[in-house]
């Protein structure tokens, strides 16, 4: 019963969103002209994603990667790889089959960028987190640090790249939308993060039967540029529920902040002890 209801709303939503989507994009252009320092992101609506893989294919083509052949299949978790920057997986849930997209989350405070010692991983002011080949030294510390396991390394290459979604940064600075958003009907929606949150809330309020009242990405890892709407609890969709809500780079702040004081205190202390032992020693020698 519920599944039927859901299917019904899904089709209503898809047709309805097309109209609203046009309006929303119009509003988007105006505001991005006013304020280009606001982070952009993508809202992914897993409640209306039909798992057609159009975005996967467009992404592969745009970035010169091999066309994906595997299809989303319940029980099989496909992962992004050095050959694929985004994947769609299927999950069997209490609400029937649901598709979930997986790619870089473009965190507000990216662990990868704070880990990178050459600033090859870089949070642009437009919002996308990009990787810059000429700076990277291939240490893979970004891979260690990313809580979503996103950056992928070309182990088979002598001049390896890090592969990950860059939200089509080259297109964004030209004022275009990312290819995936361009290709997809309504499941992907591009805008400033503020617009995305507003849009997500609007969708939840408008058709509450279709969504759980949570936006994944609003808080996780300190907030991400990618936001997710979902019809069922995130646990059912393979999200890692252990992830913390506060920012990951903050975990190293305590250590990094202590460095300057160590540099002042330790040498002073050492010199002090050195002087103290010196005078003690010369005294001893005098006694001799």
């Amino acid at each position: 019963m519920t599944i039927d209801r859901r299917k019904f709303f899904k089709s209503v939503a898809i047709t309805g969103m097309t109209i609203i989507g046009v309006n929303a994009t119009g509003a988007n252009k105006k505001s991005s002209g006013d304020d280009d320092t606001e982070f952009h992101g993508i809202l992914y609506d897993s409640s209306i994603c039909i798992g057609c893989q159009a975005c996967e294919k467009a992404c592969a083509e745009a970035h010169g990667l091999p066309e994906p052949t595997a299809k989303p299949e319940v029980g099989v978790i496909r992962k992004t790889s050095e050959n694929q920057r985004c994947v769609i997986n299927a999950y069997e849930t209490s609400q029937g089959e649901v598709y979930v997209r997986n790619q870089c989350m473009h965190c507000n405070e990216p662990a990868c960028a704070s880990a990178c010692l050459t600033q090859a991983m870089y949070k642009t002011k437009e919002g996308p987190v990009i990787w810059r080949e000429d700076k990277c030294m291939g240490c893979r510390y970004c891979m260690i640090s990313c809580p979503f396991d996103v950056p992928k390394f070309e182990y088979g290459s002598t001049n390896p790249k890090i592969q990950k979604c860059d939200m089509c940064y080259d297109r964004i600075i030209k004022g275009e939308k990312p290819v995936c958003v361009e290709t997809c009907g309504d499941a992907l929606f591009f805008g400033t993060r503020r617009e995305l949150v507003a849009e997500a809330r609007r969708r939840i309020a408008e058709i509450p039967e279709l969504y759980i009242d949570q936006i994944y990405g609003e808080h996780v890892a300190g907030g991400t540029g990618y936001l997710y709407l979902a019809p069922v609890d995130h646990k059912e969709l393979g999200f890692d529920t252990r992830l913390q809500n506060s920012s990951y780079p903050a975990l190293t702040k305590g250590f990094l902040y202590s460095v300057p004081s160590v540099f002042v205190l330790v040498p002073t202390l050492l010199l002090g002890i050195h002087e103290a032992t010196k005078s003690r020693k010369s005294k001893e020698e005098n006694h001799d």
Binding site: S114, T118, Q119, K135, C139, Y155, G156, P160, L270
Partner: protein, 410 residues
């Protein structure tokens, strides 16, 4: 190993530098020692593998994957190795800052060890980099990732290598017979020591801080916000255990280079180093205990990872701690050495646990190093031992410095 104690005497000064260097590069002593017979083939295979690594890519020799991107070279050669090189900063602290003179005769060899170790860790790091030609990016140019722990560790590595080079340089000057340089370089020692200790505290803990962001990837029994502190404290007894272990070997191998007086002194040193280790391990265990209580992971103890954790804590920290205590009370040299070996194994376990074994313990496909990674990891250590041996048999490291250097050396 039958070199004269003062390799460069007056009449040699007339030789050209070139002749001198060529002469010194030639091997001394017997060639067909068991160590050579075992190490040479391994090194040759290792070098071949390194060539393959650069011509075919990392994946050709290494089993690291997308989920576990750091394997044996980082986890063992770098993260574990640095802990063992900690002896250098602890001993320079004891000798130059606290001025406990009785350790003076082993400070040089420890600094040499530390210096070589760091050089080779840097080497292991370069092997592991995907784009090693960009290694200078964070050092020159405007690519400072100053918010990165790795950036800090890399810089400290570099600076510490320089500091250690300065600390060791008087020995080189004595070898070359460069008296003026010797005087200047000896004058720099204290500065280098203070700088070096500061850098060491930071990068010993920094290596632990590298894993702070991997909070869900490392098993909760090993991950905690105090990893940096635990790494720092354990580096003290890791380093000293290495000093004890290495001392017992060089005492045999380089028997003739160590004077009778120093040999006596060494034995009493082992005893007091054992005591320091025991106390260090006590503090470390106590901290581990507090962290454990704080983390409230009682339920995790009764799992296979929990048993593994208990084995590390009881078998490889508490046990050698007790042995060290007992050995220092009864001045039992052999027992100290046994404790040192157990401690060394325990530190290897601990560092590998944090960086590899408990890292992604829940992954579907576990990372297991390939035989090629293992051979390369061993090659790195063997080459280091070769160079160590080369230096020891030429420069005044274990033996007394030449007389002329006496007044200037600290």
């Amino acid at each position: 190993m039958t070199s004269p104690i003062y390799p460069l005497t007056k009449e040699k000064e007339s030789q050209s530098t070139w002749q001198f260097l060529m002469n010194e590069l030639k091997p001394r002593g017997k060639w067909l020692t068991p160590f050579n017979l075992i190490s040479i083939p391994i090194i040759l295979v290792g070098l071949a593998l390194i060539v393959i690594r650069f011509t075919e890519g990392l994946g050709a020799v290494s089993n690291i994957n997308q989920e576990v991107p750091w394997g044996l070279w980082k986890g063992f050669n770098v993260v574990t190795g640095v802990a063992f090189a900690g002896g250098a900063y602890v001993l320079t602290f004891i000798v130059y800052i606290l001025k406990v003179e009785k350790y003076h005769s082993i400070v040089r060899v420890t600094v040499l060890n530390g210096f070589l170790a760091y050089m080779f860790y840097a080497g292991a790091l370069v092997l592991d980099l995907g784009k090693p030609w960009n290694i200078f990016n964070p050092i020159i140019g405007n690519n400072f990732g100053a918010s990165s722990v790795l950036f800090l560790v890399a810089w400290h590595f570099l600076l510490y290598i320089i500091a250690q080079l300065i600390e060791f340089s008087p020995a080189v000057a004595e070898w070359l017979g460069a008296r003026r340089a010797h005087k200047i370089l000896s004058g720099l020692t204290l500065g280098a020591v203070i700088f070096g200790i500061t850098l060491s505290t930071l990068h010993q803990s920094g290596l632990g801080a590298l894993f702070l962001m991997a909070s869900e990837k490392i098993h909760p029994l090993w991950y905690n916000e105090f990893i940096p502190l635990l790494f720092l404290v354990s580096s003290v007894f890791a380093g000293l255990s290495m000093v004890i272990f290495e001392g017992s070997i060089s005492q045999r191998v380089f028997f003739r280079k160590i004077s009778e007086k120093n040999r006596q002194a060494r034995n009493s040193m082992v005893q007091s180093l054992s005591k320091i280790c025991a106390f260090g391990m006590f503090a470390y265990l106590f901290m581990q205990f507090l962290v454990f209580i704080h983390g409230q992971h009682w339920d995790l103890l009764n799992t296979s990872m929990g048993y593994w954790f208990l084995l590390e804590m009881i078998g490889f920290v508490a046990l050698p701690m007790a042995l060290y205590f007992y050995a220092s009370r009864t001045s039992n040299l052999t027992l100290s050495r046994v404790a040192a070996v157990i401690t060394i194994v325990g530190i290897i376990l601990n560092r590998l646990n944090v960086s590899i074994i408990a890292f992604r313990w829940d992954a579907a496909v576990r990372y297991v190093p390939s035989w090629m990674e293992v051979v390369v990891a061993i090659t790195i250590i063997l080459v280091q031992i070769w160079i160590f041996r080369w230096v020891i048999s030429r420069m005044p490291v274990l033996d007394e410095p030449p007389k002329w250097a006496k007044n200037t050396s600290h």
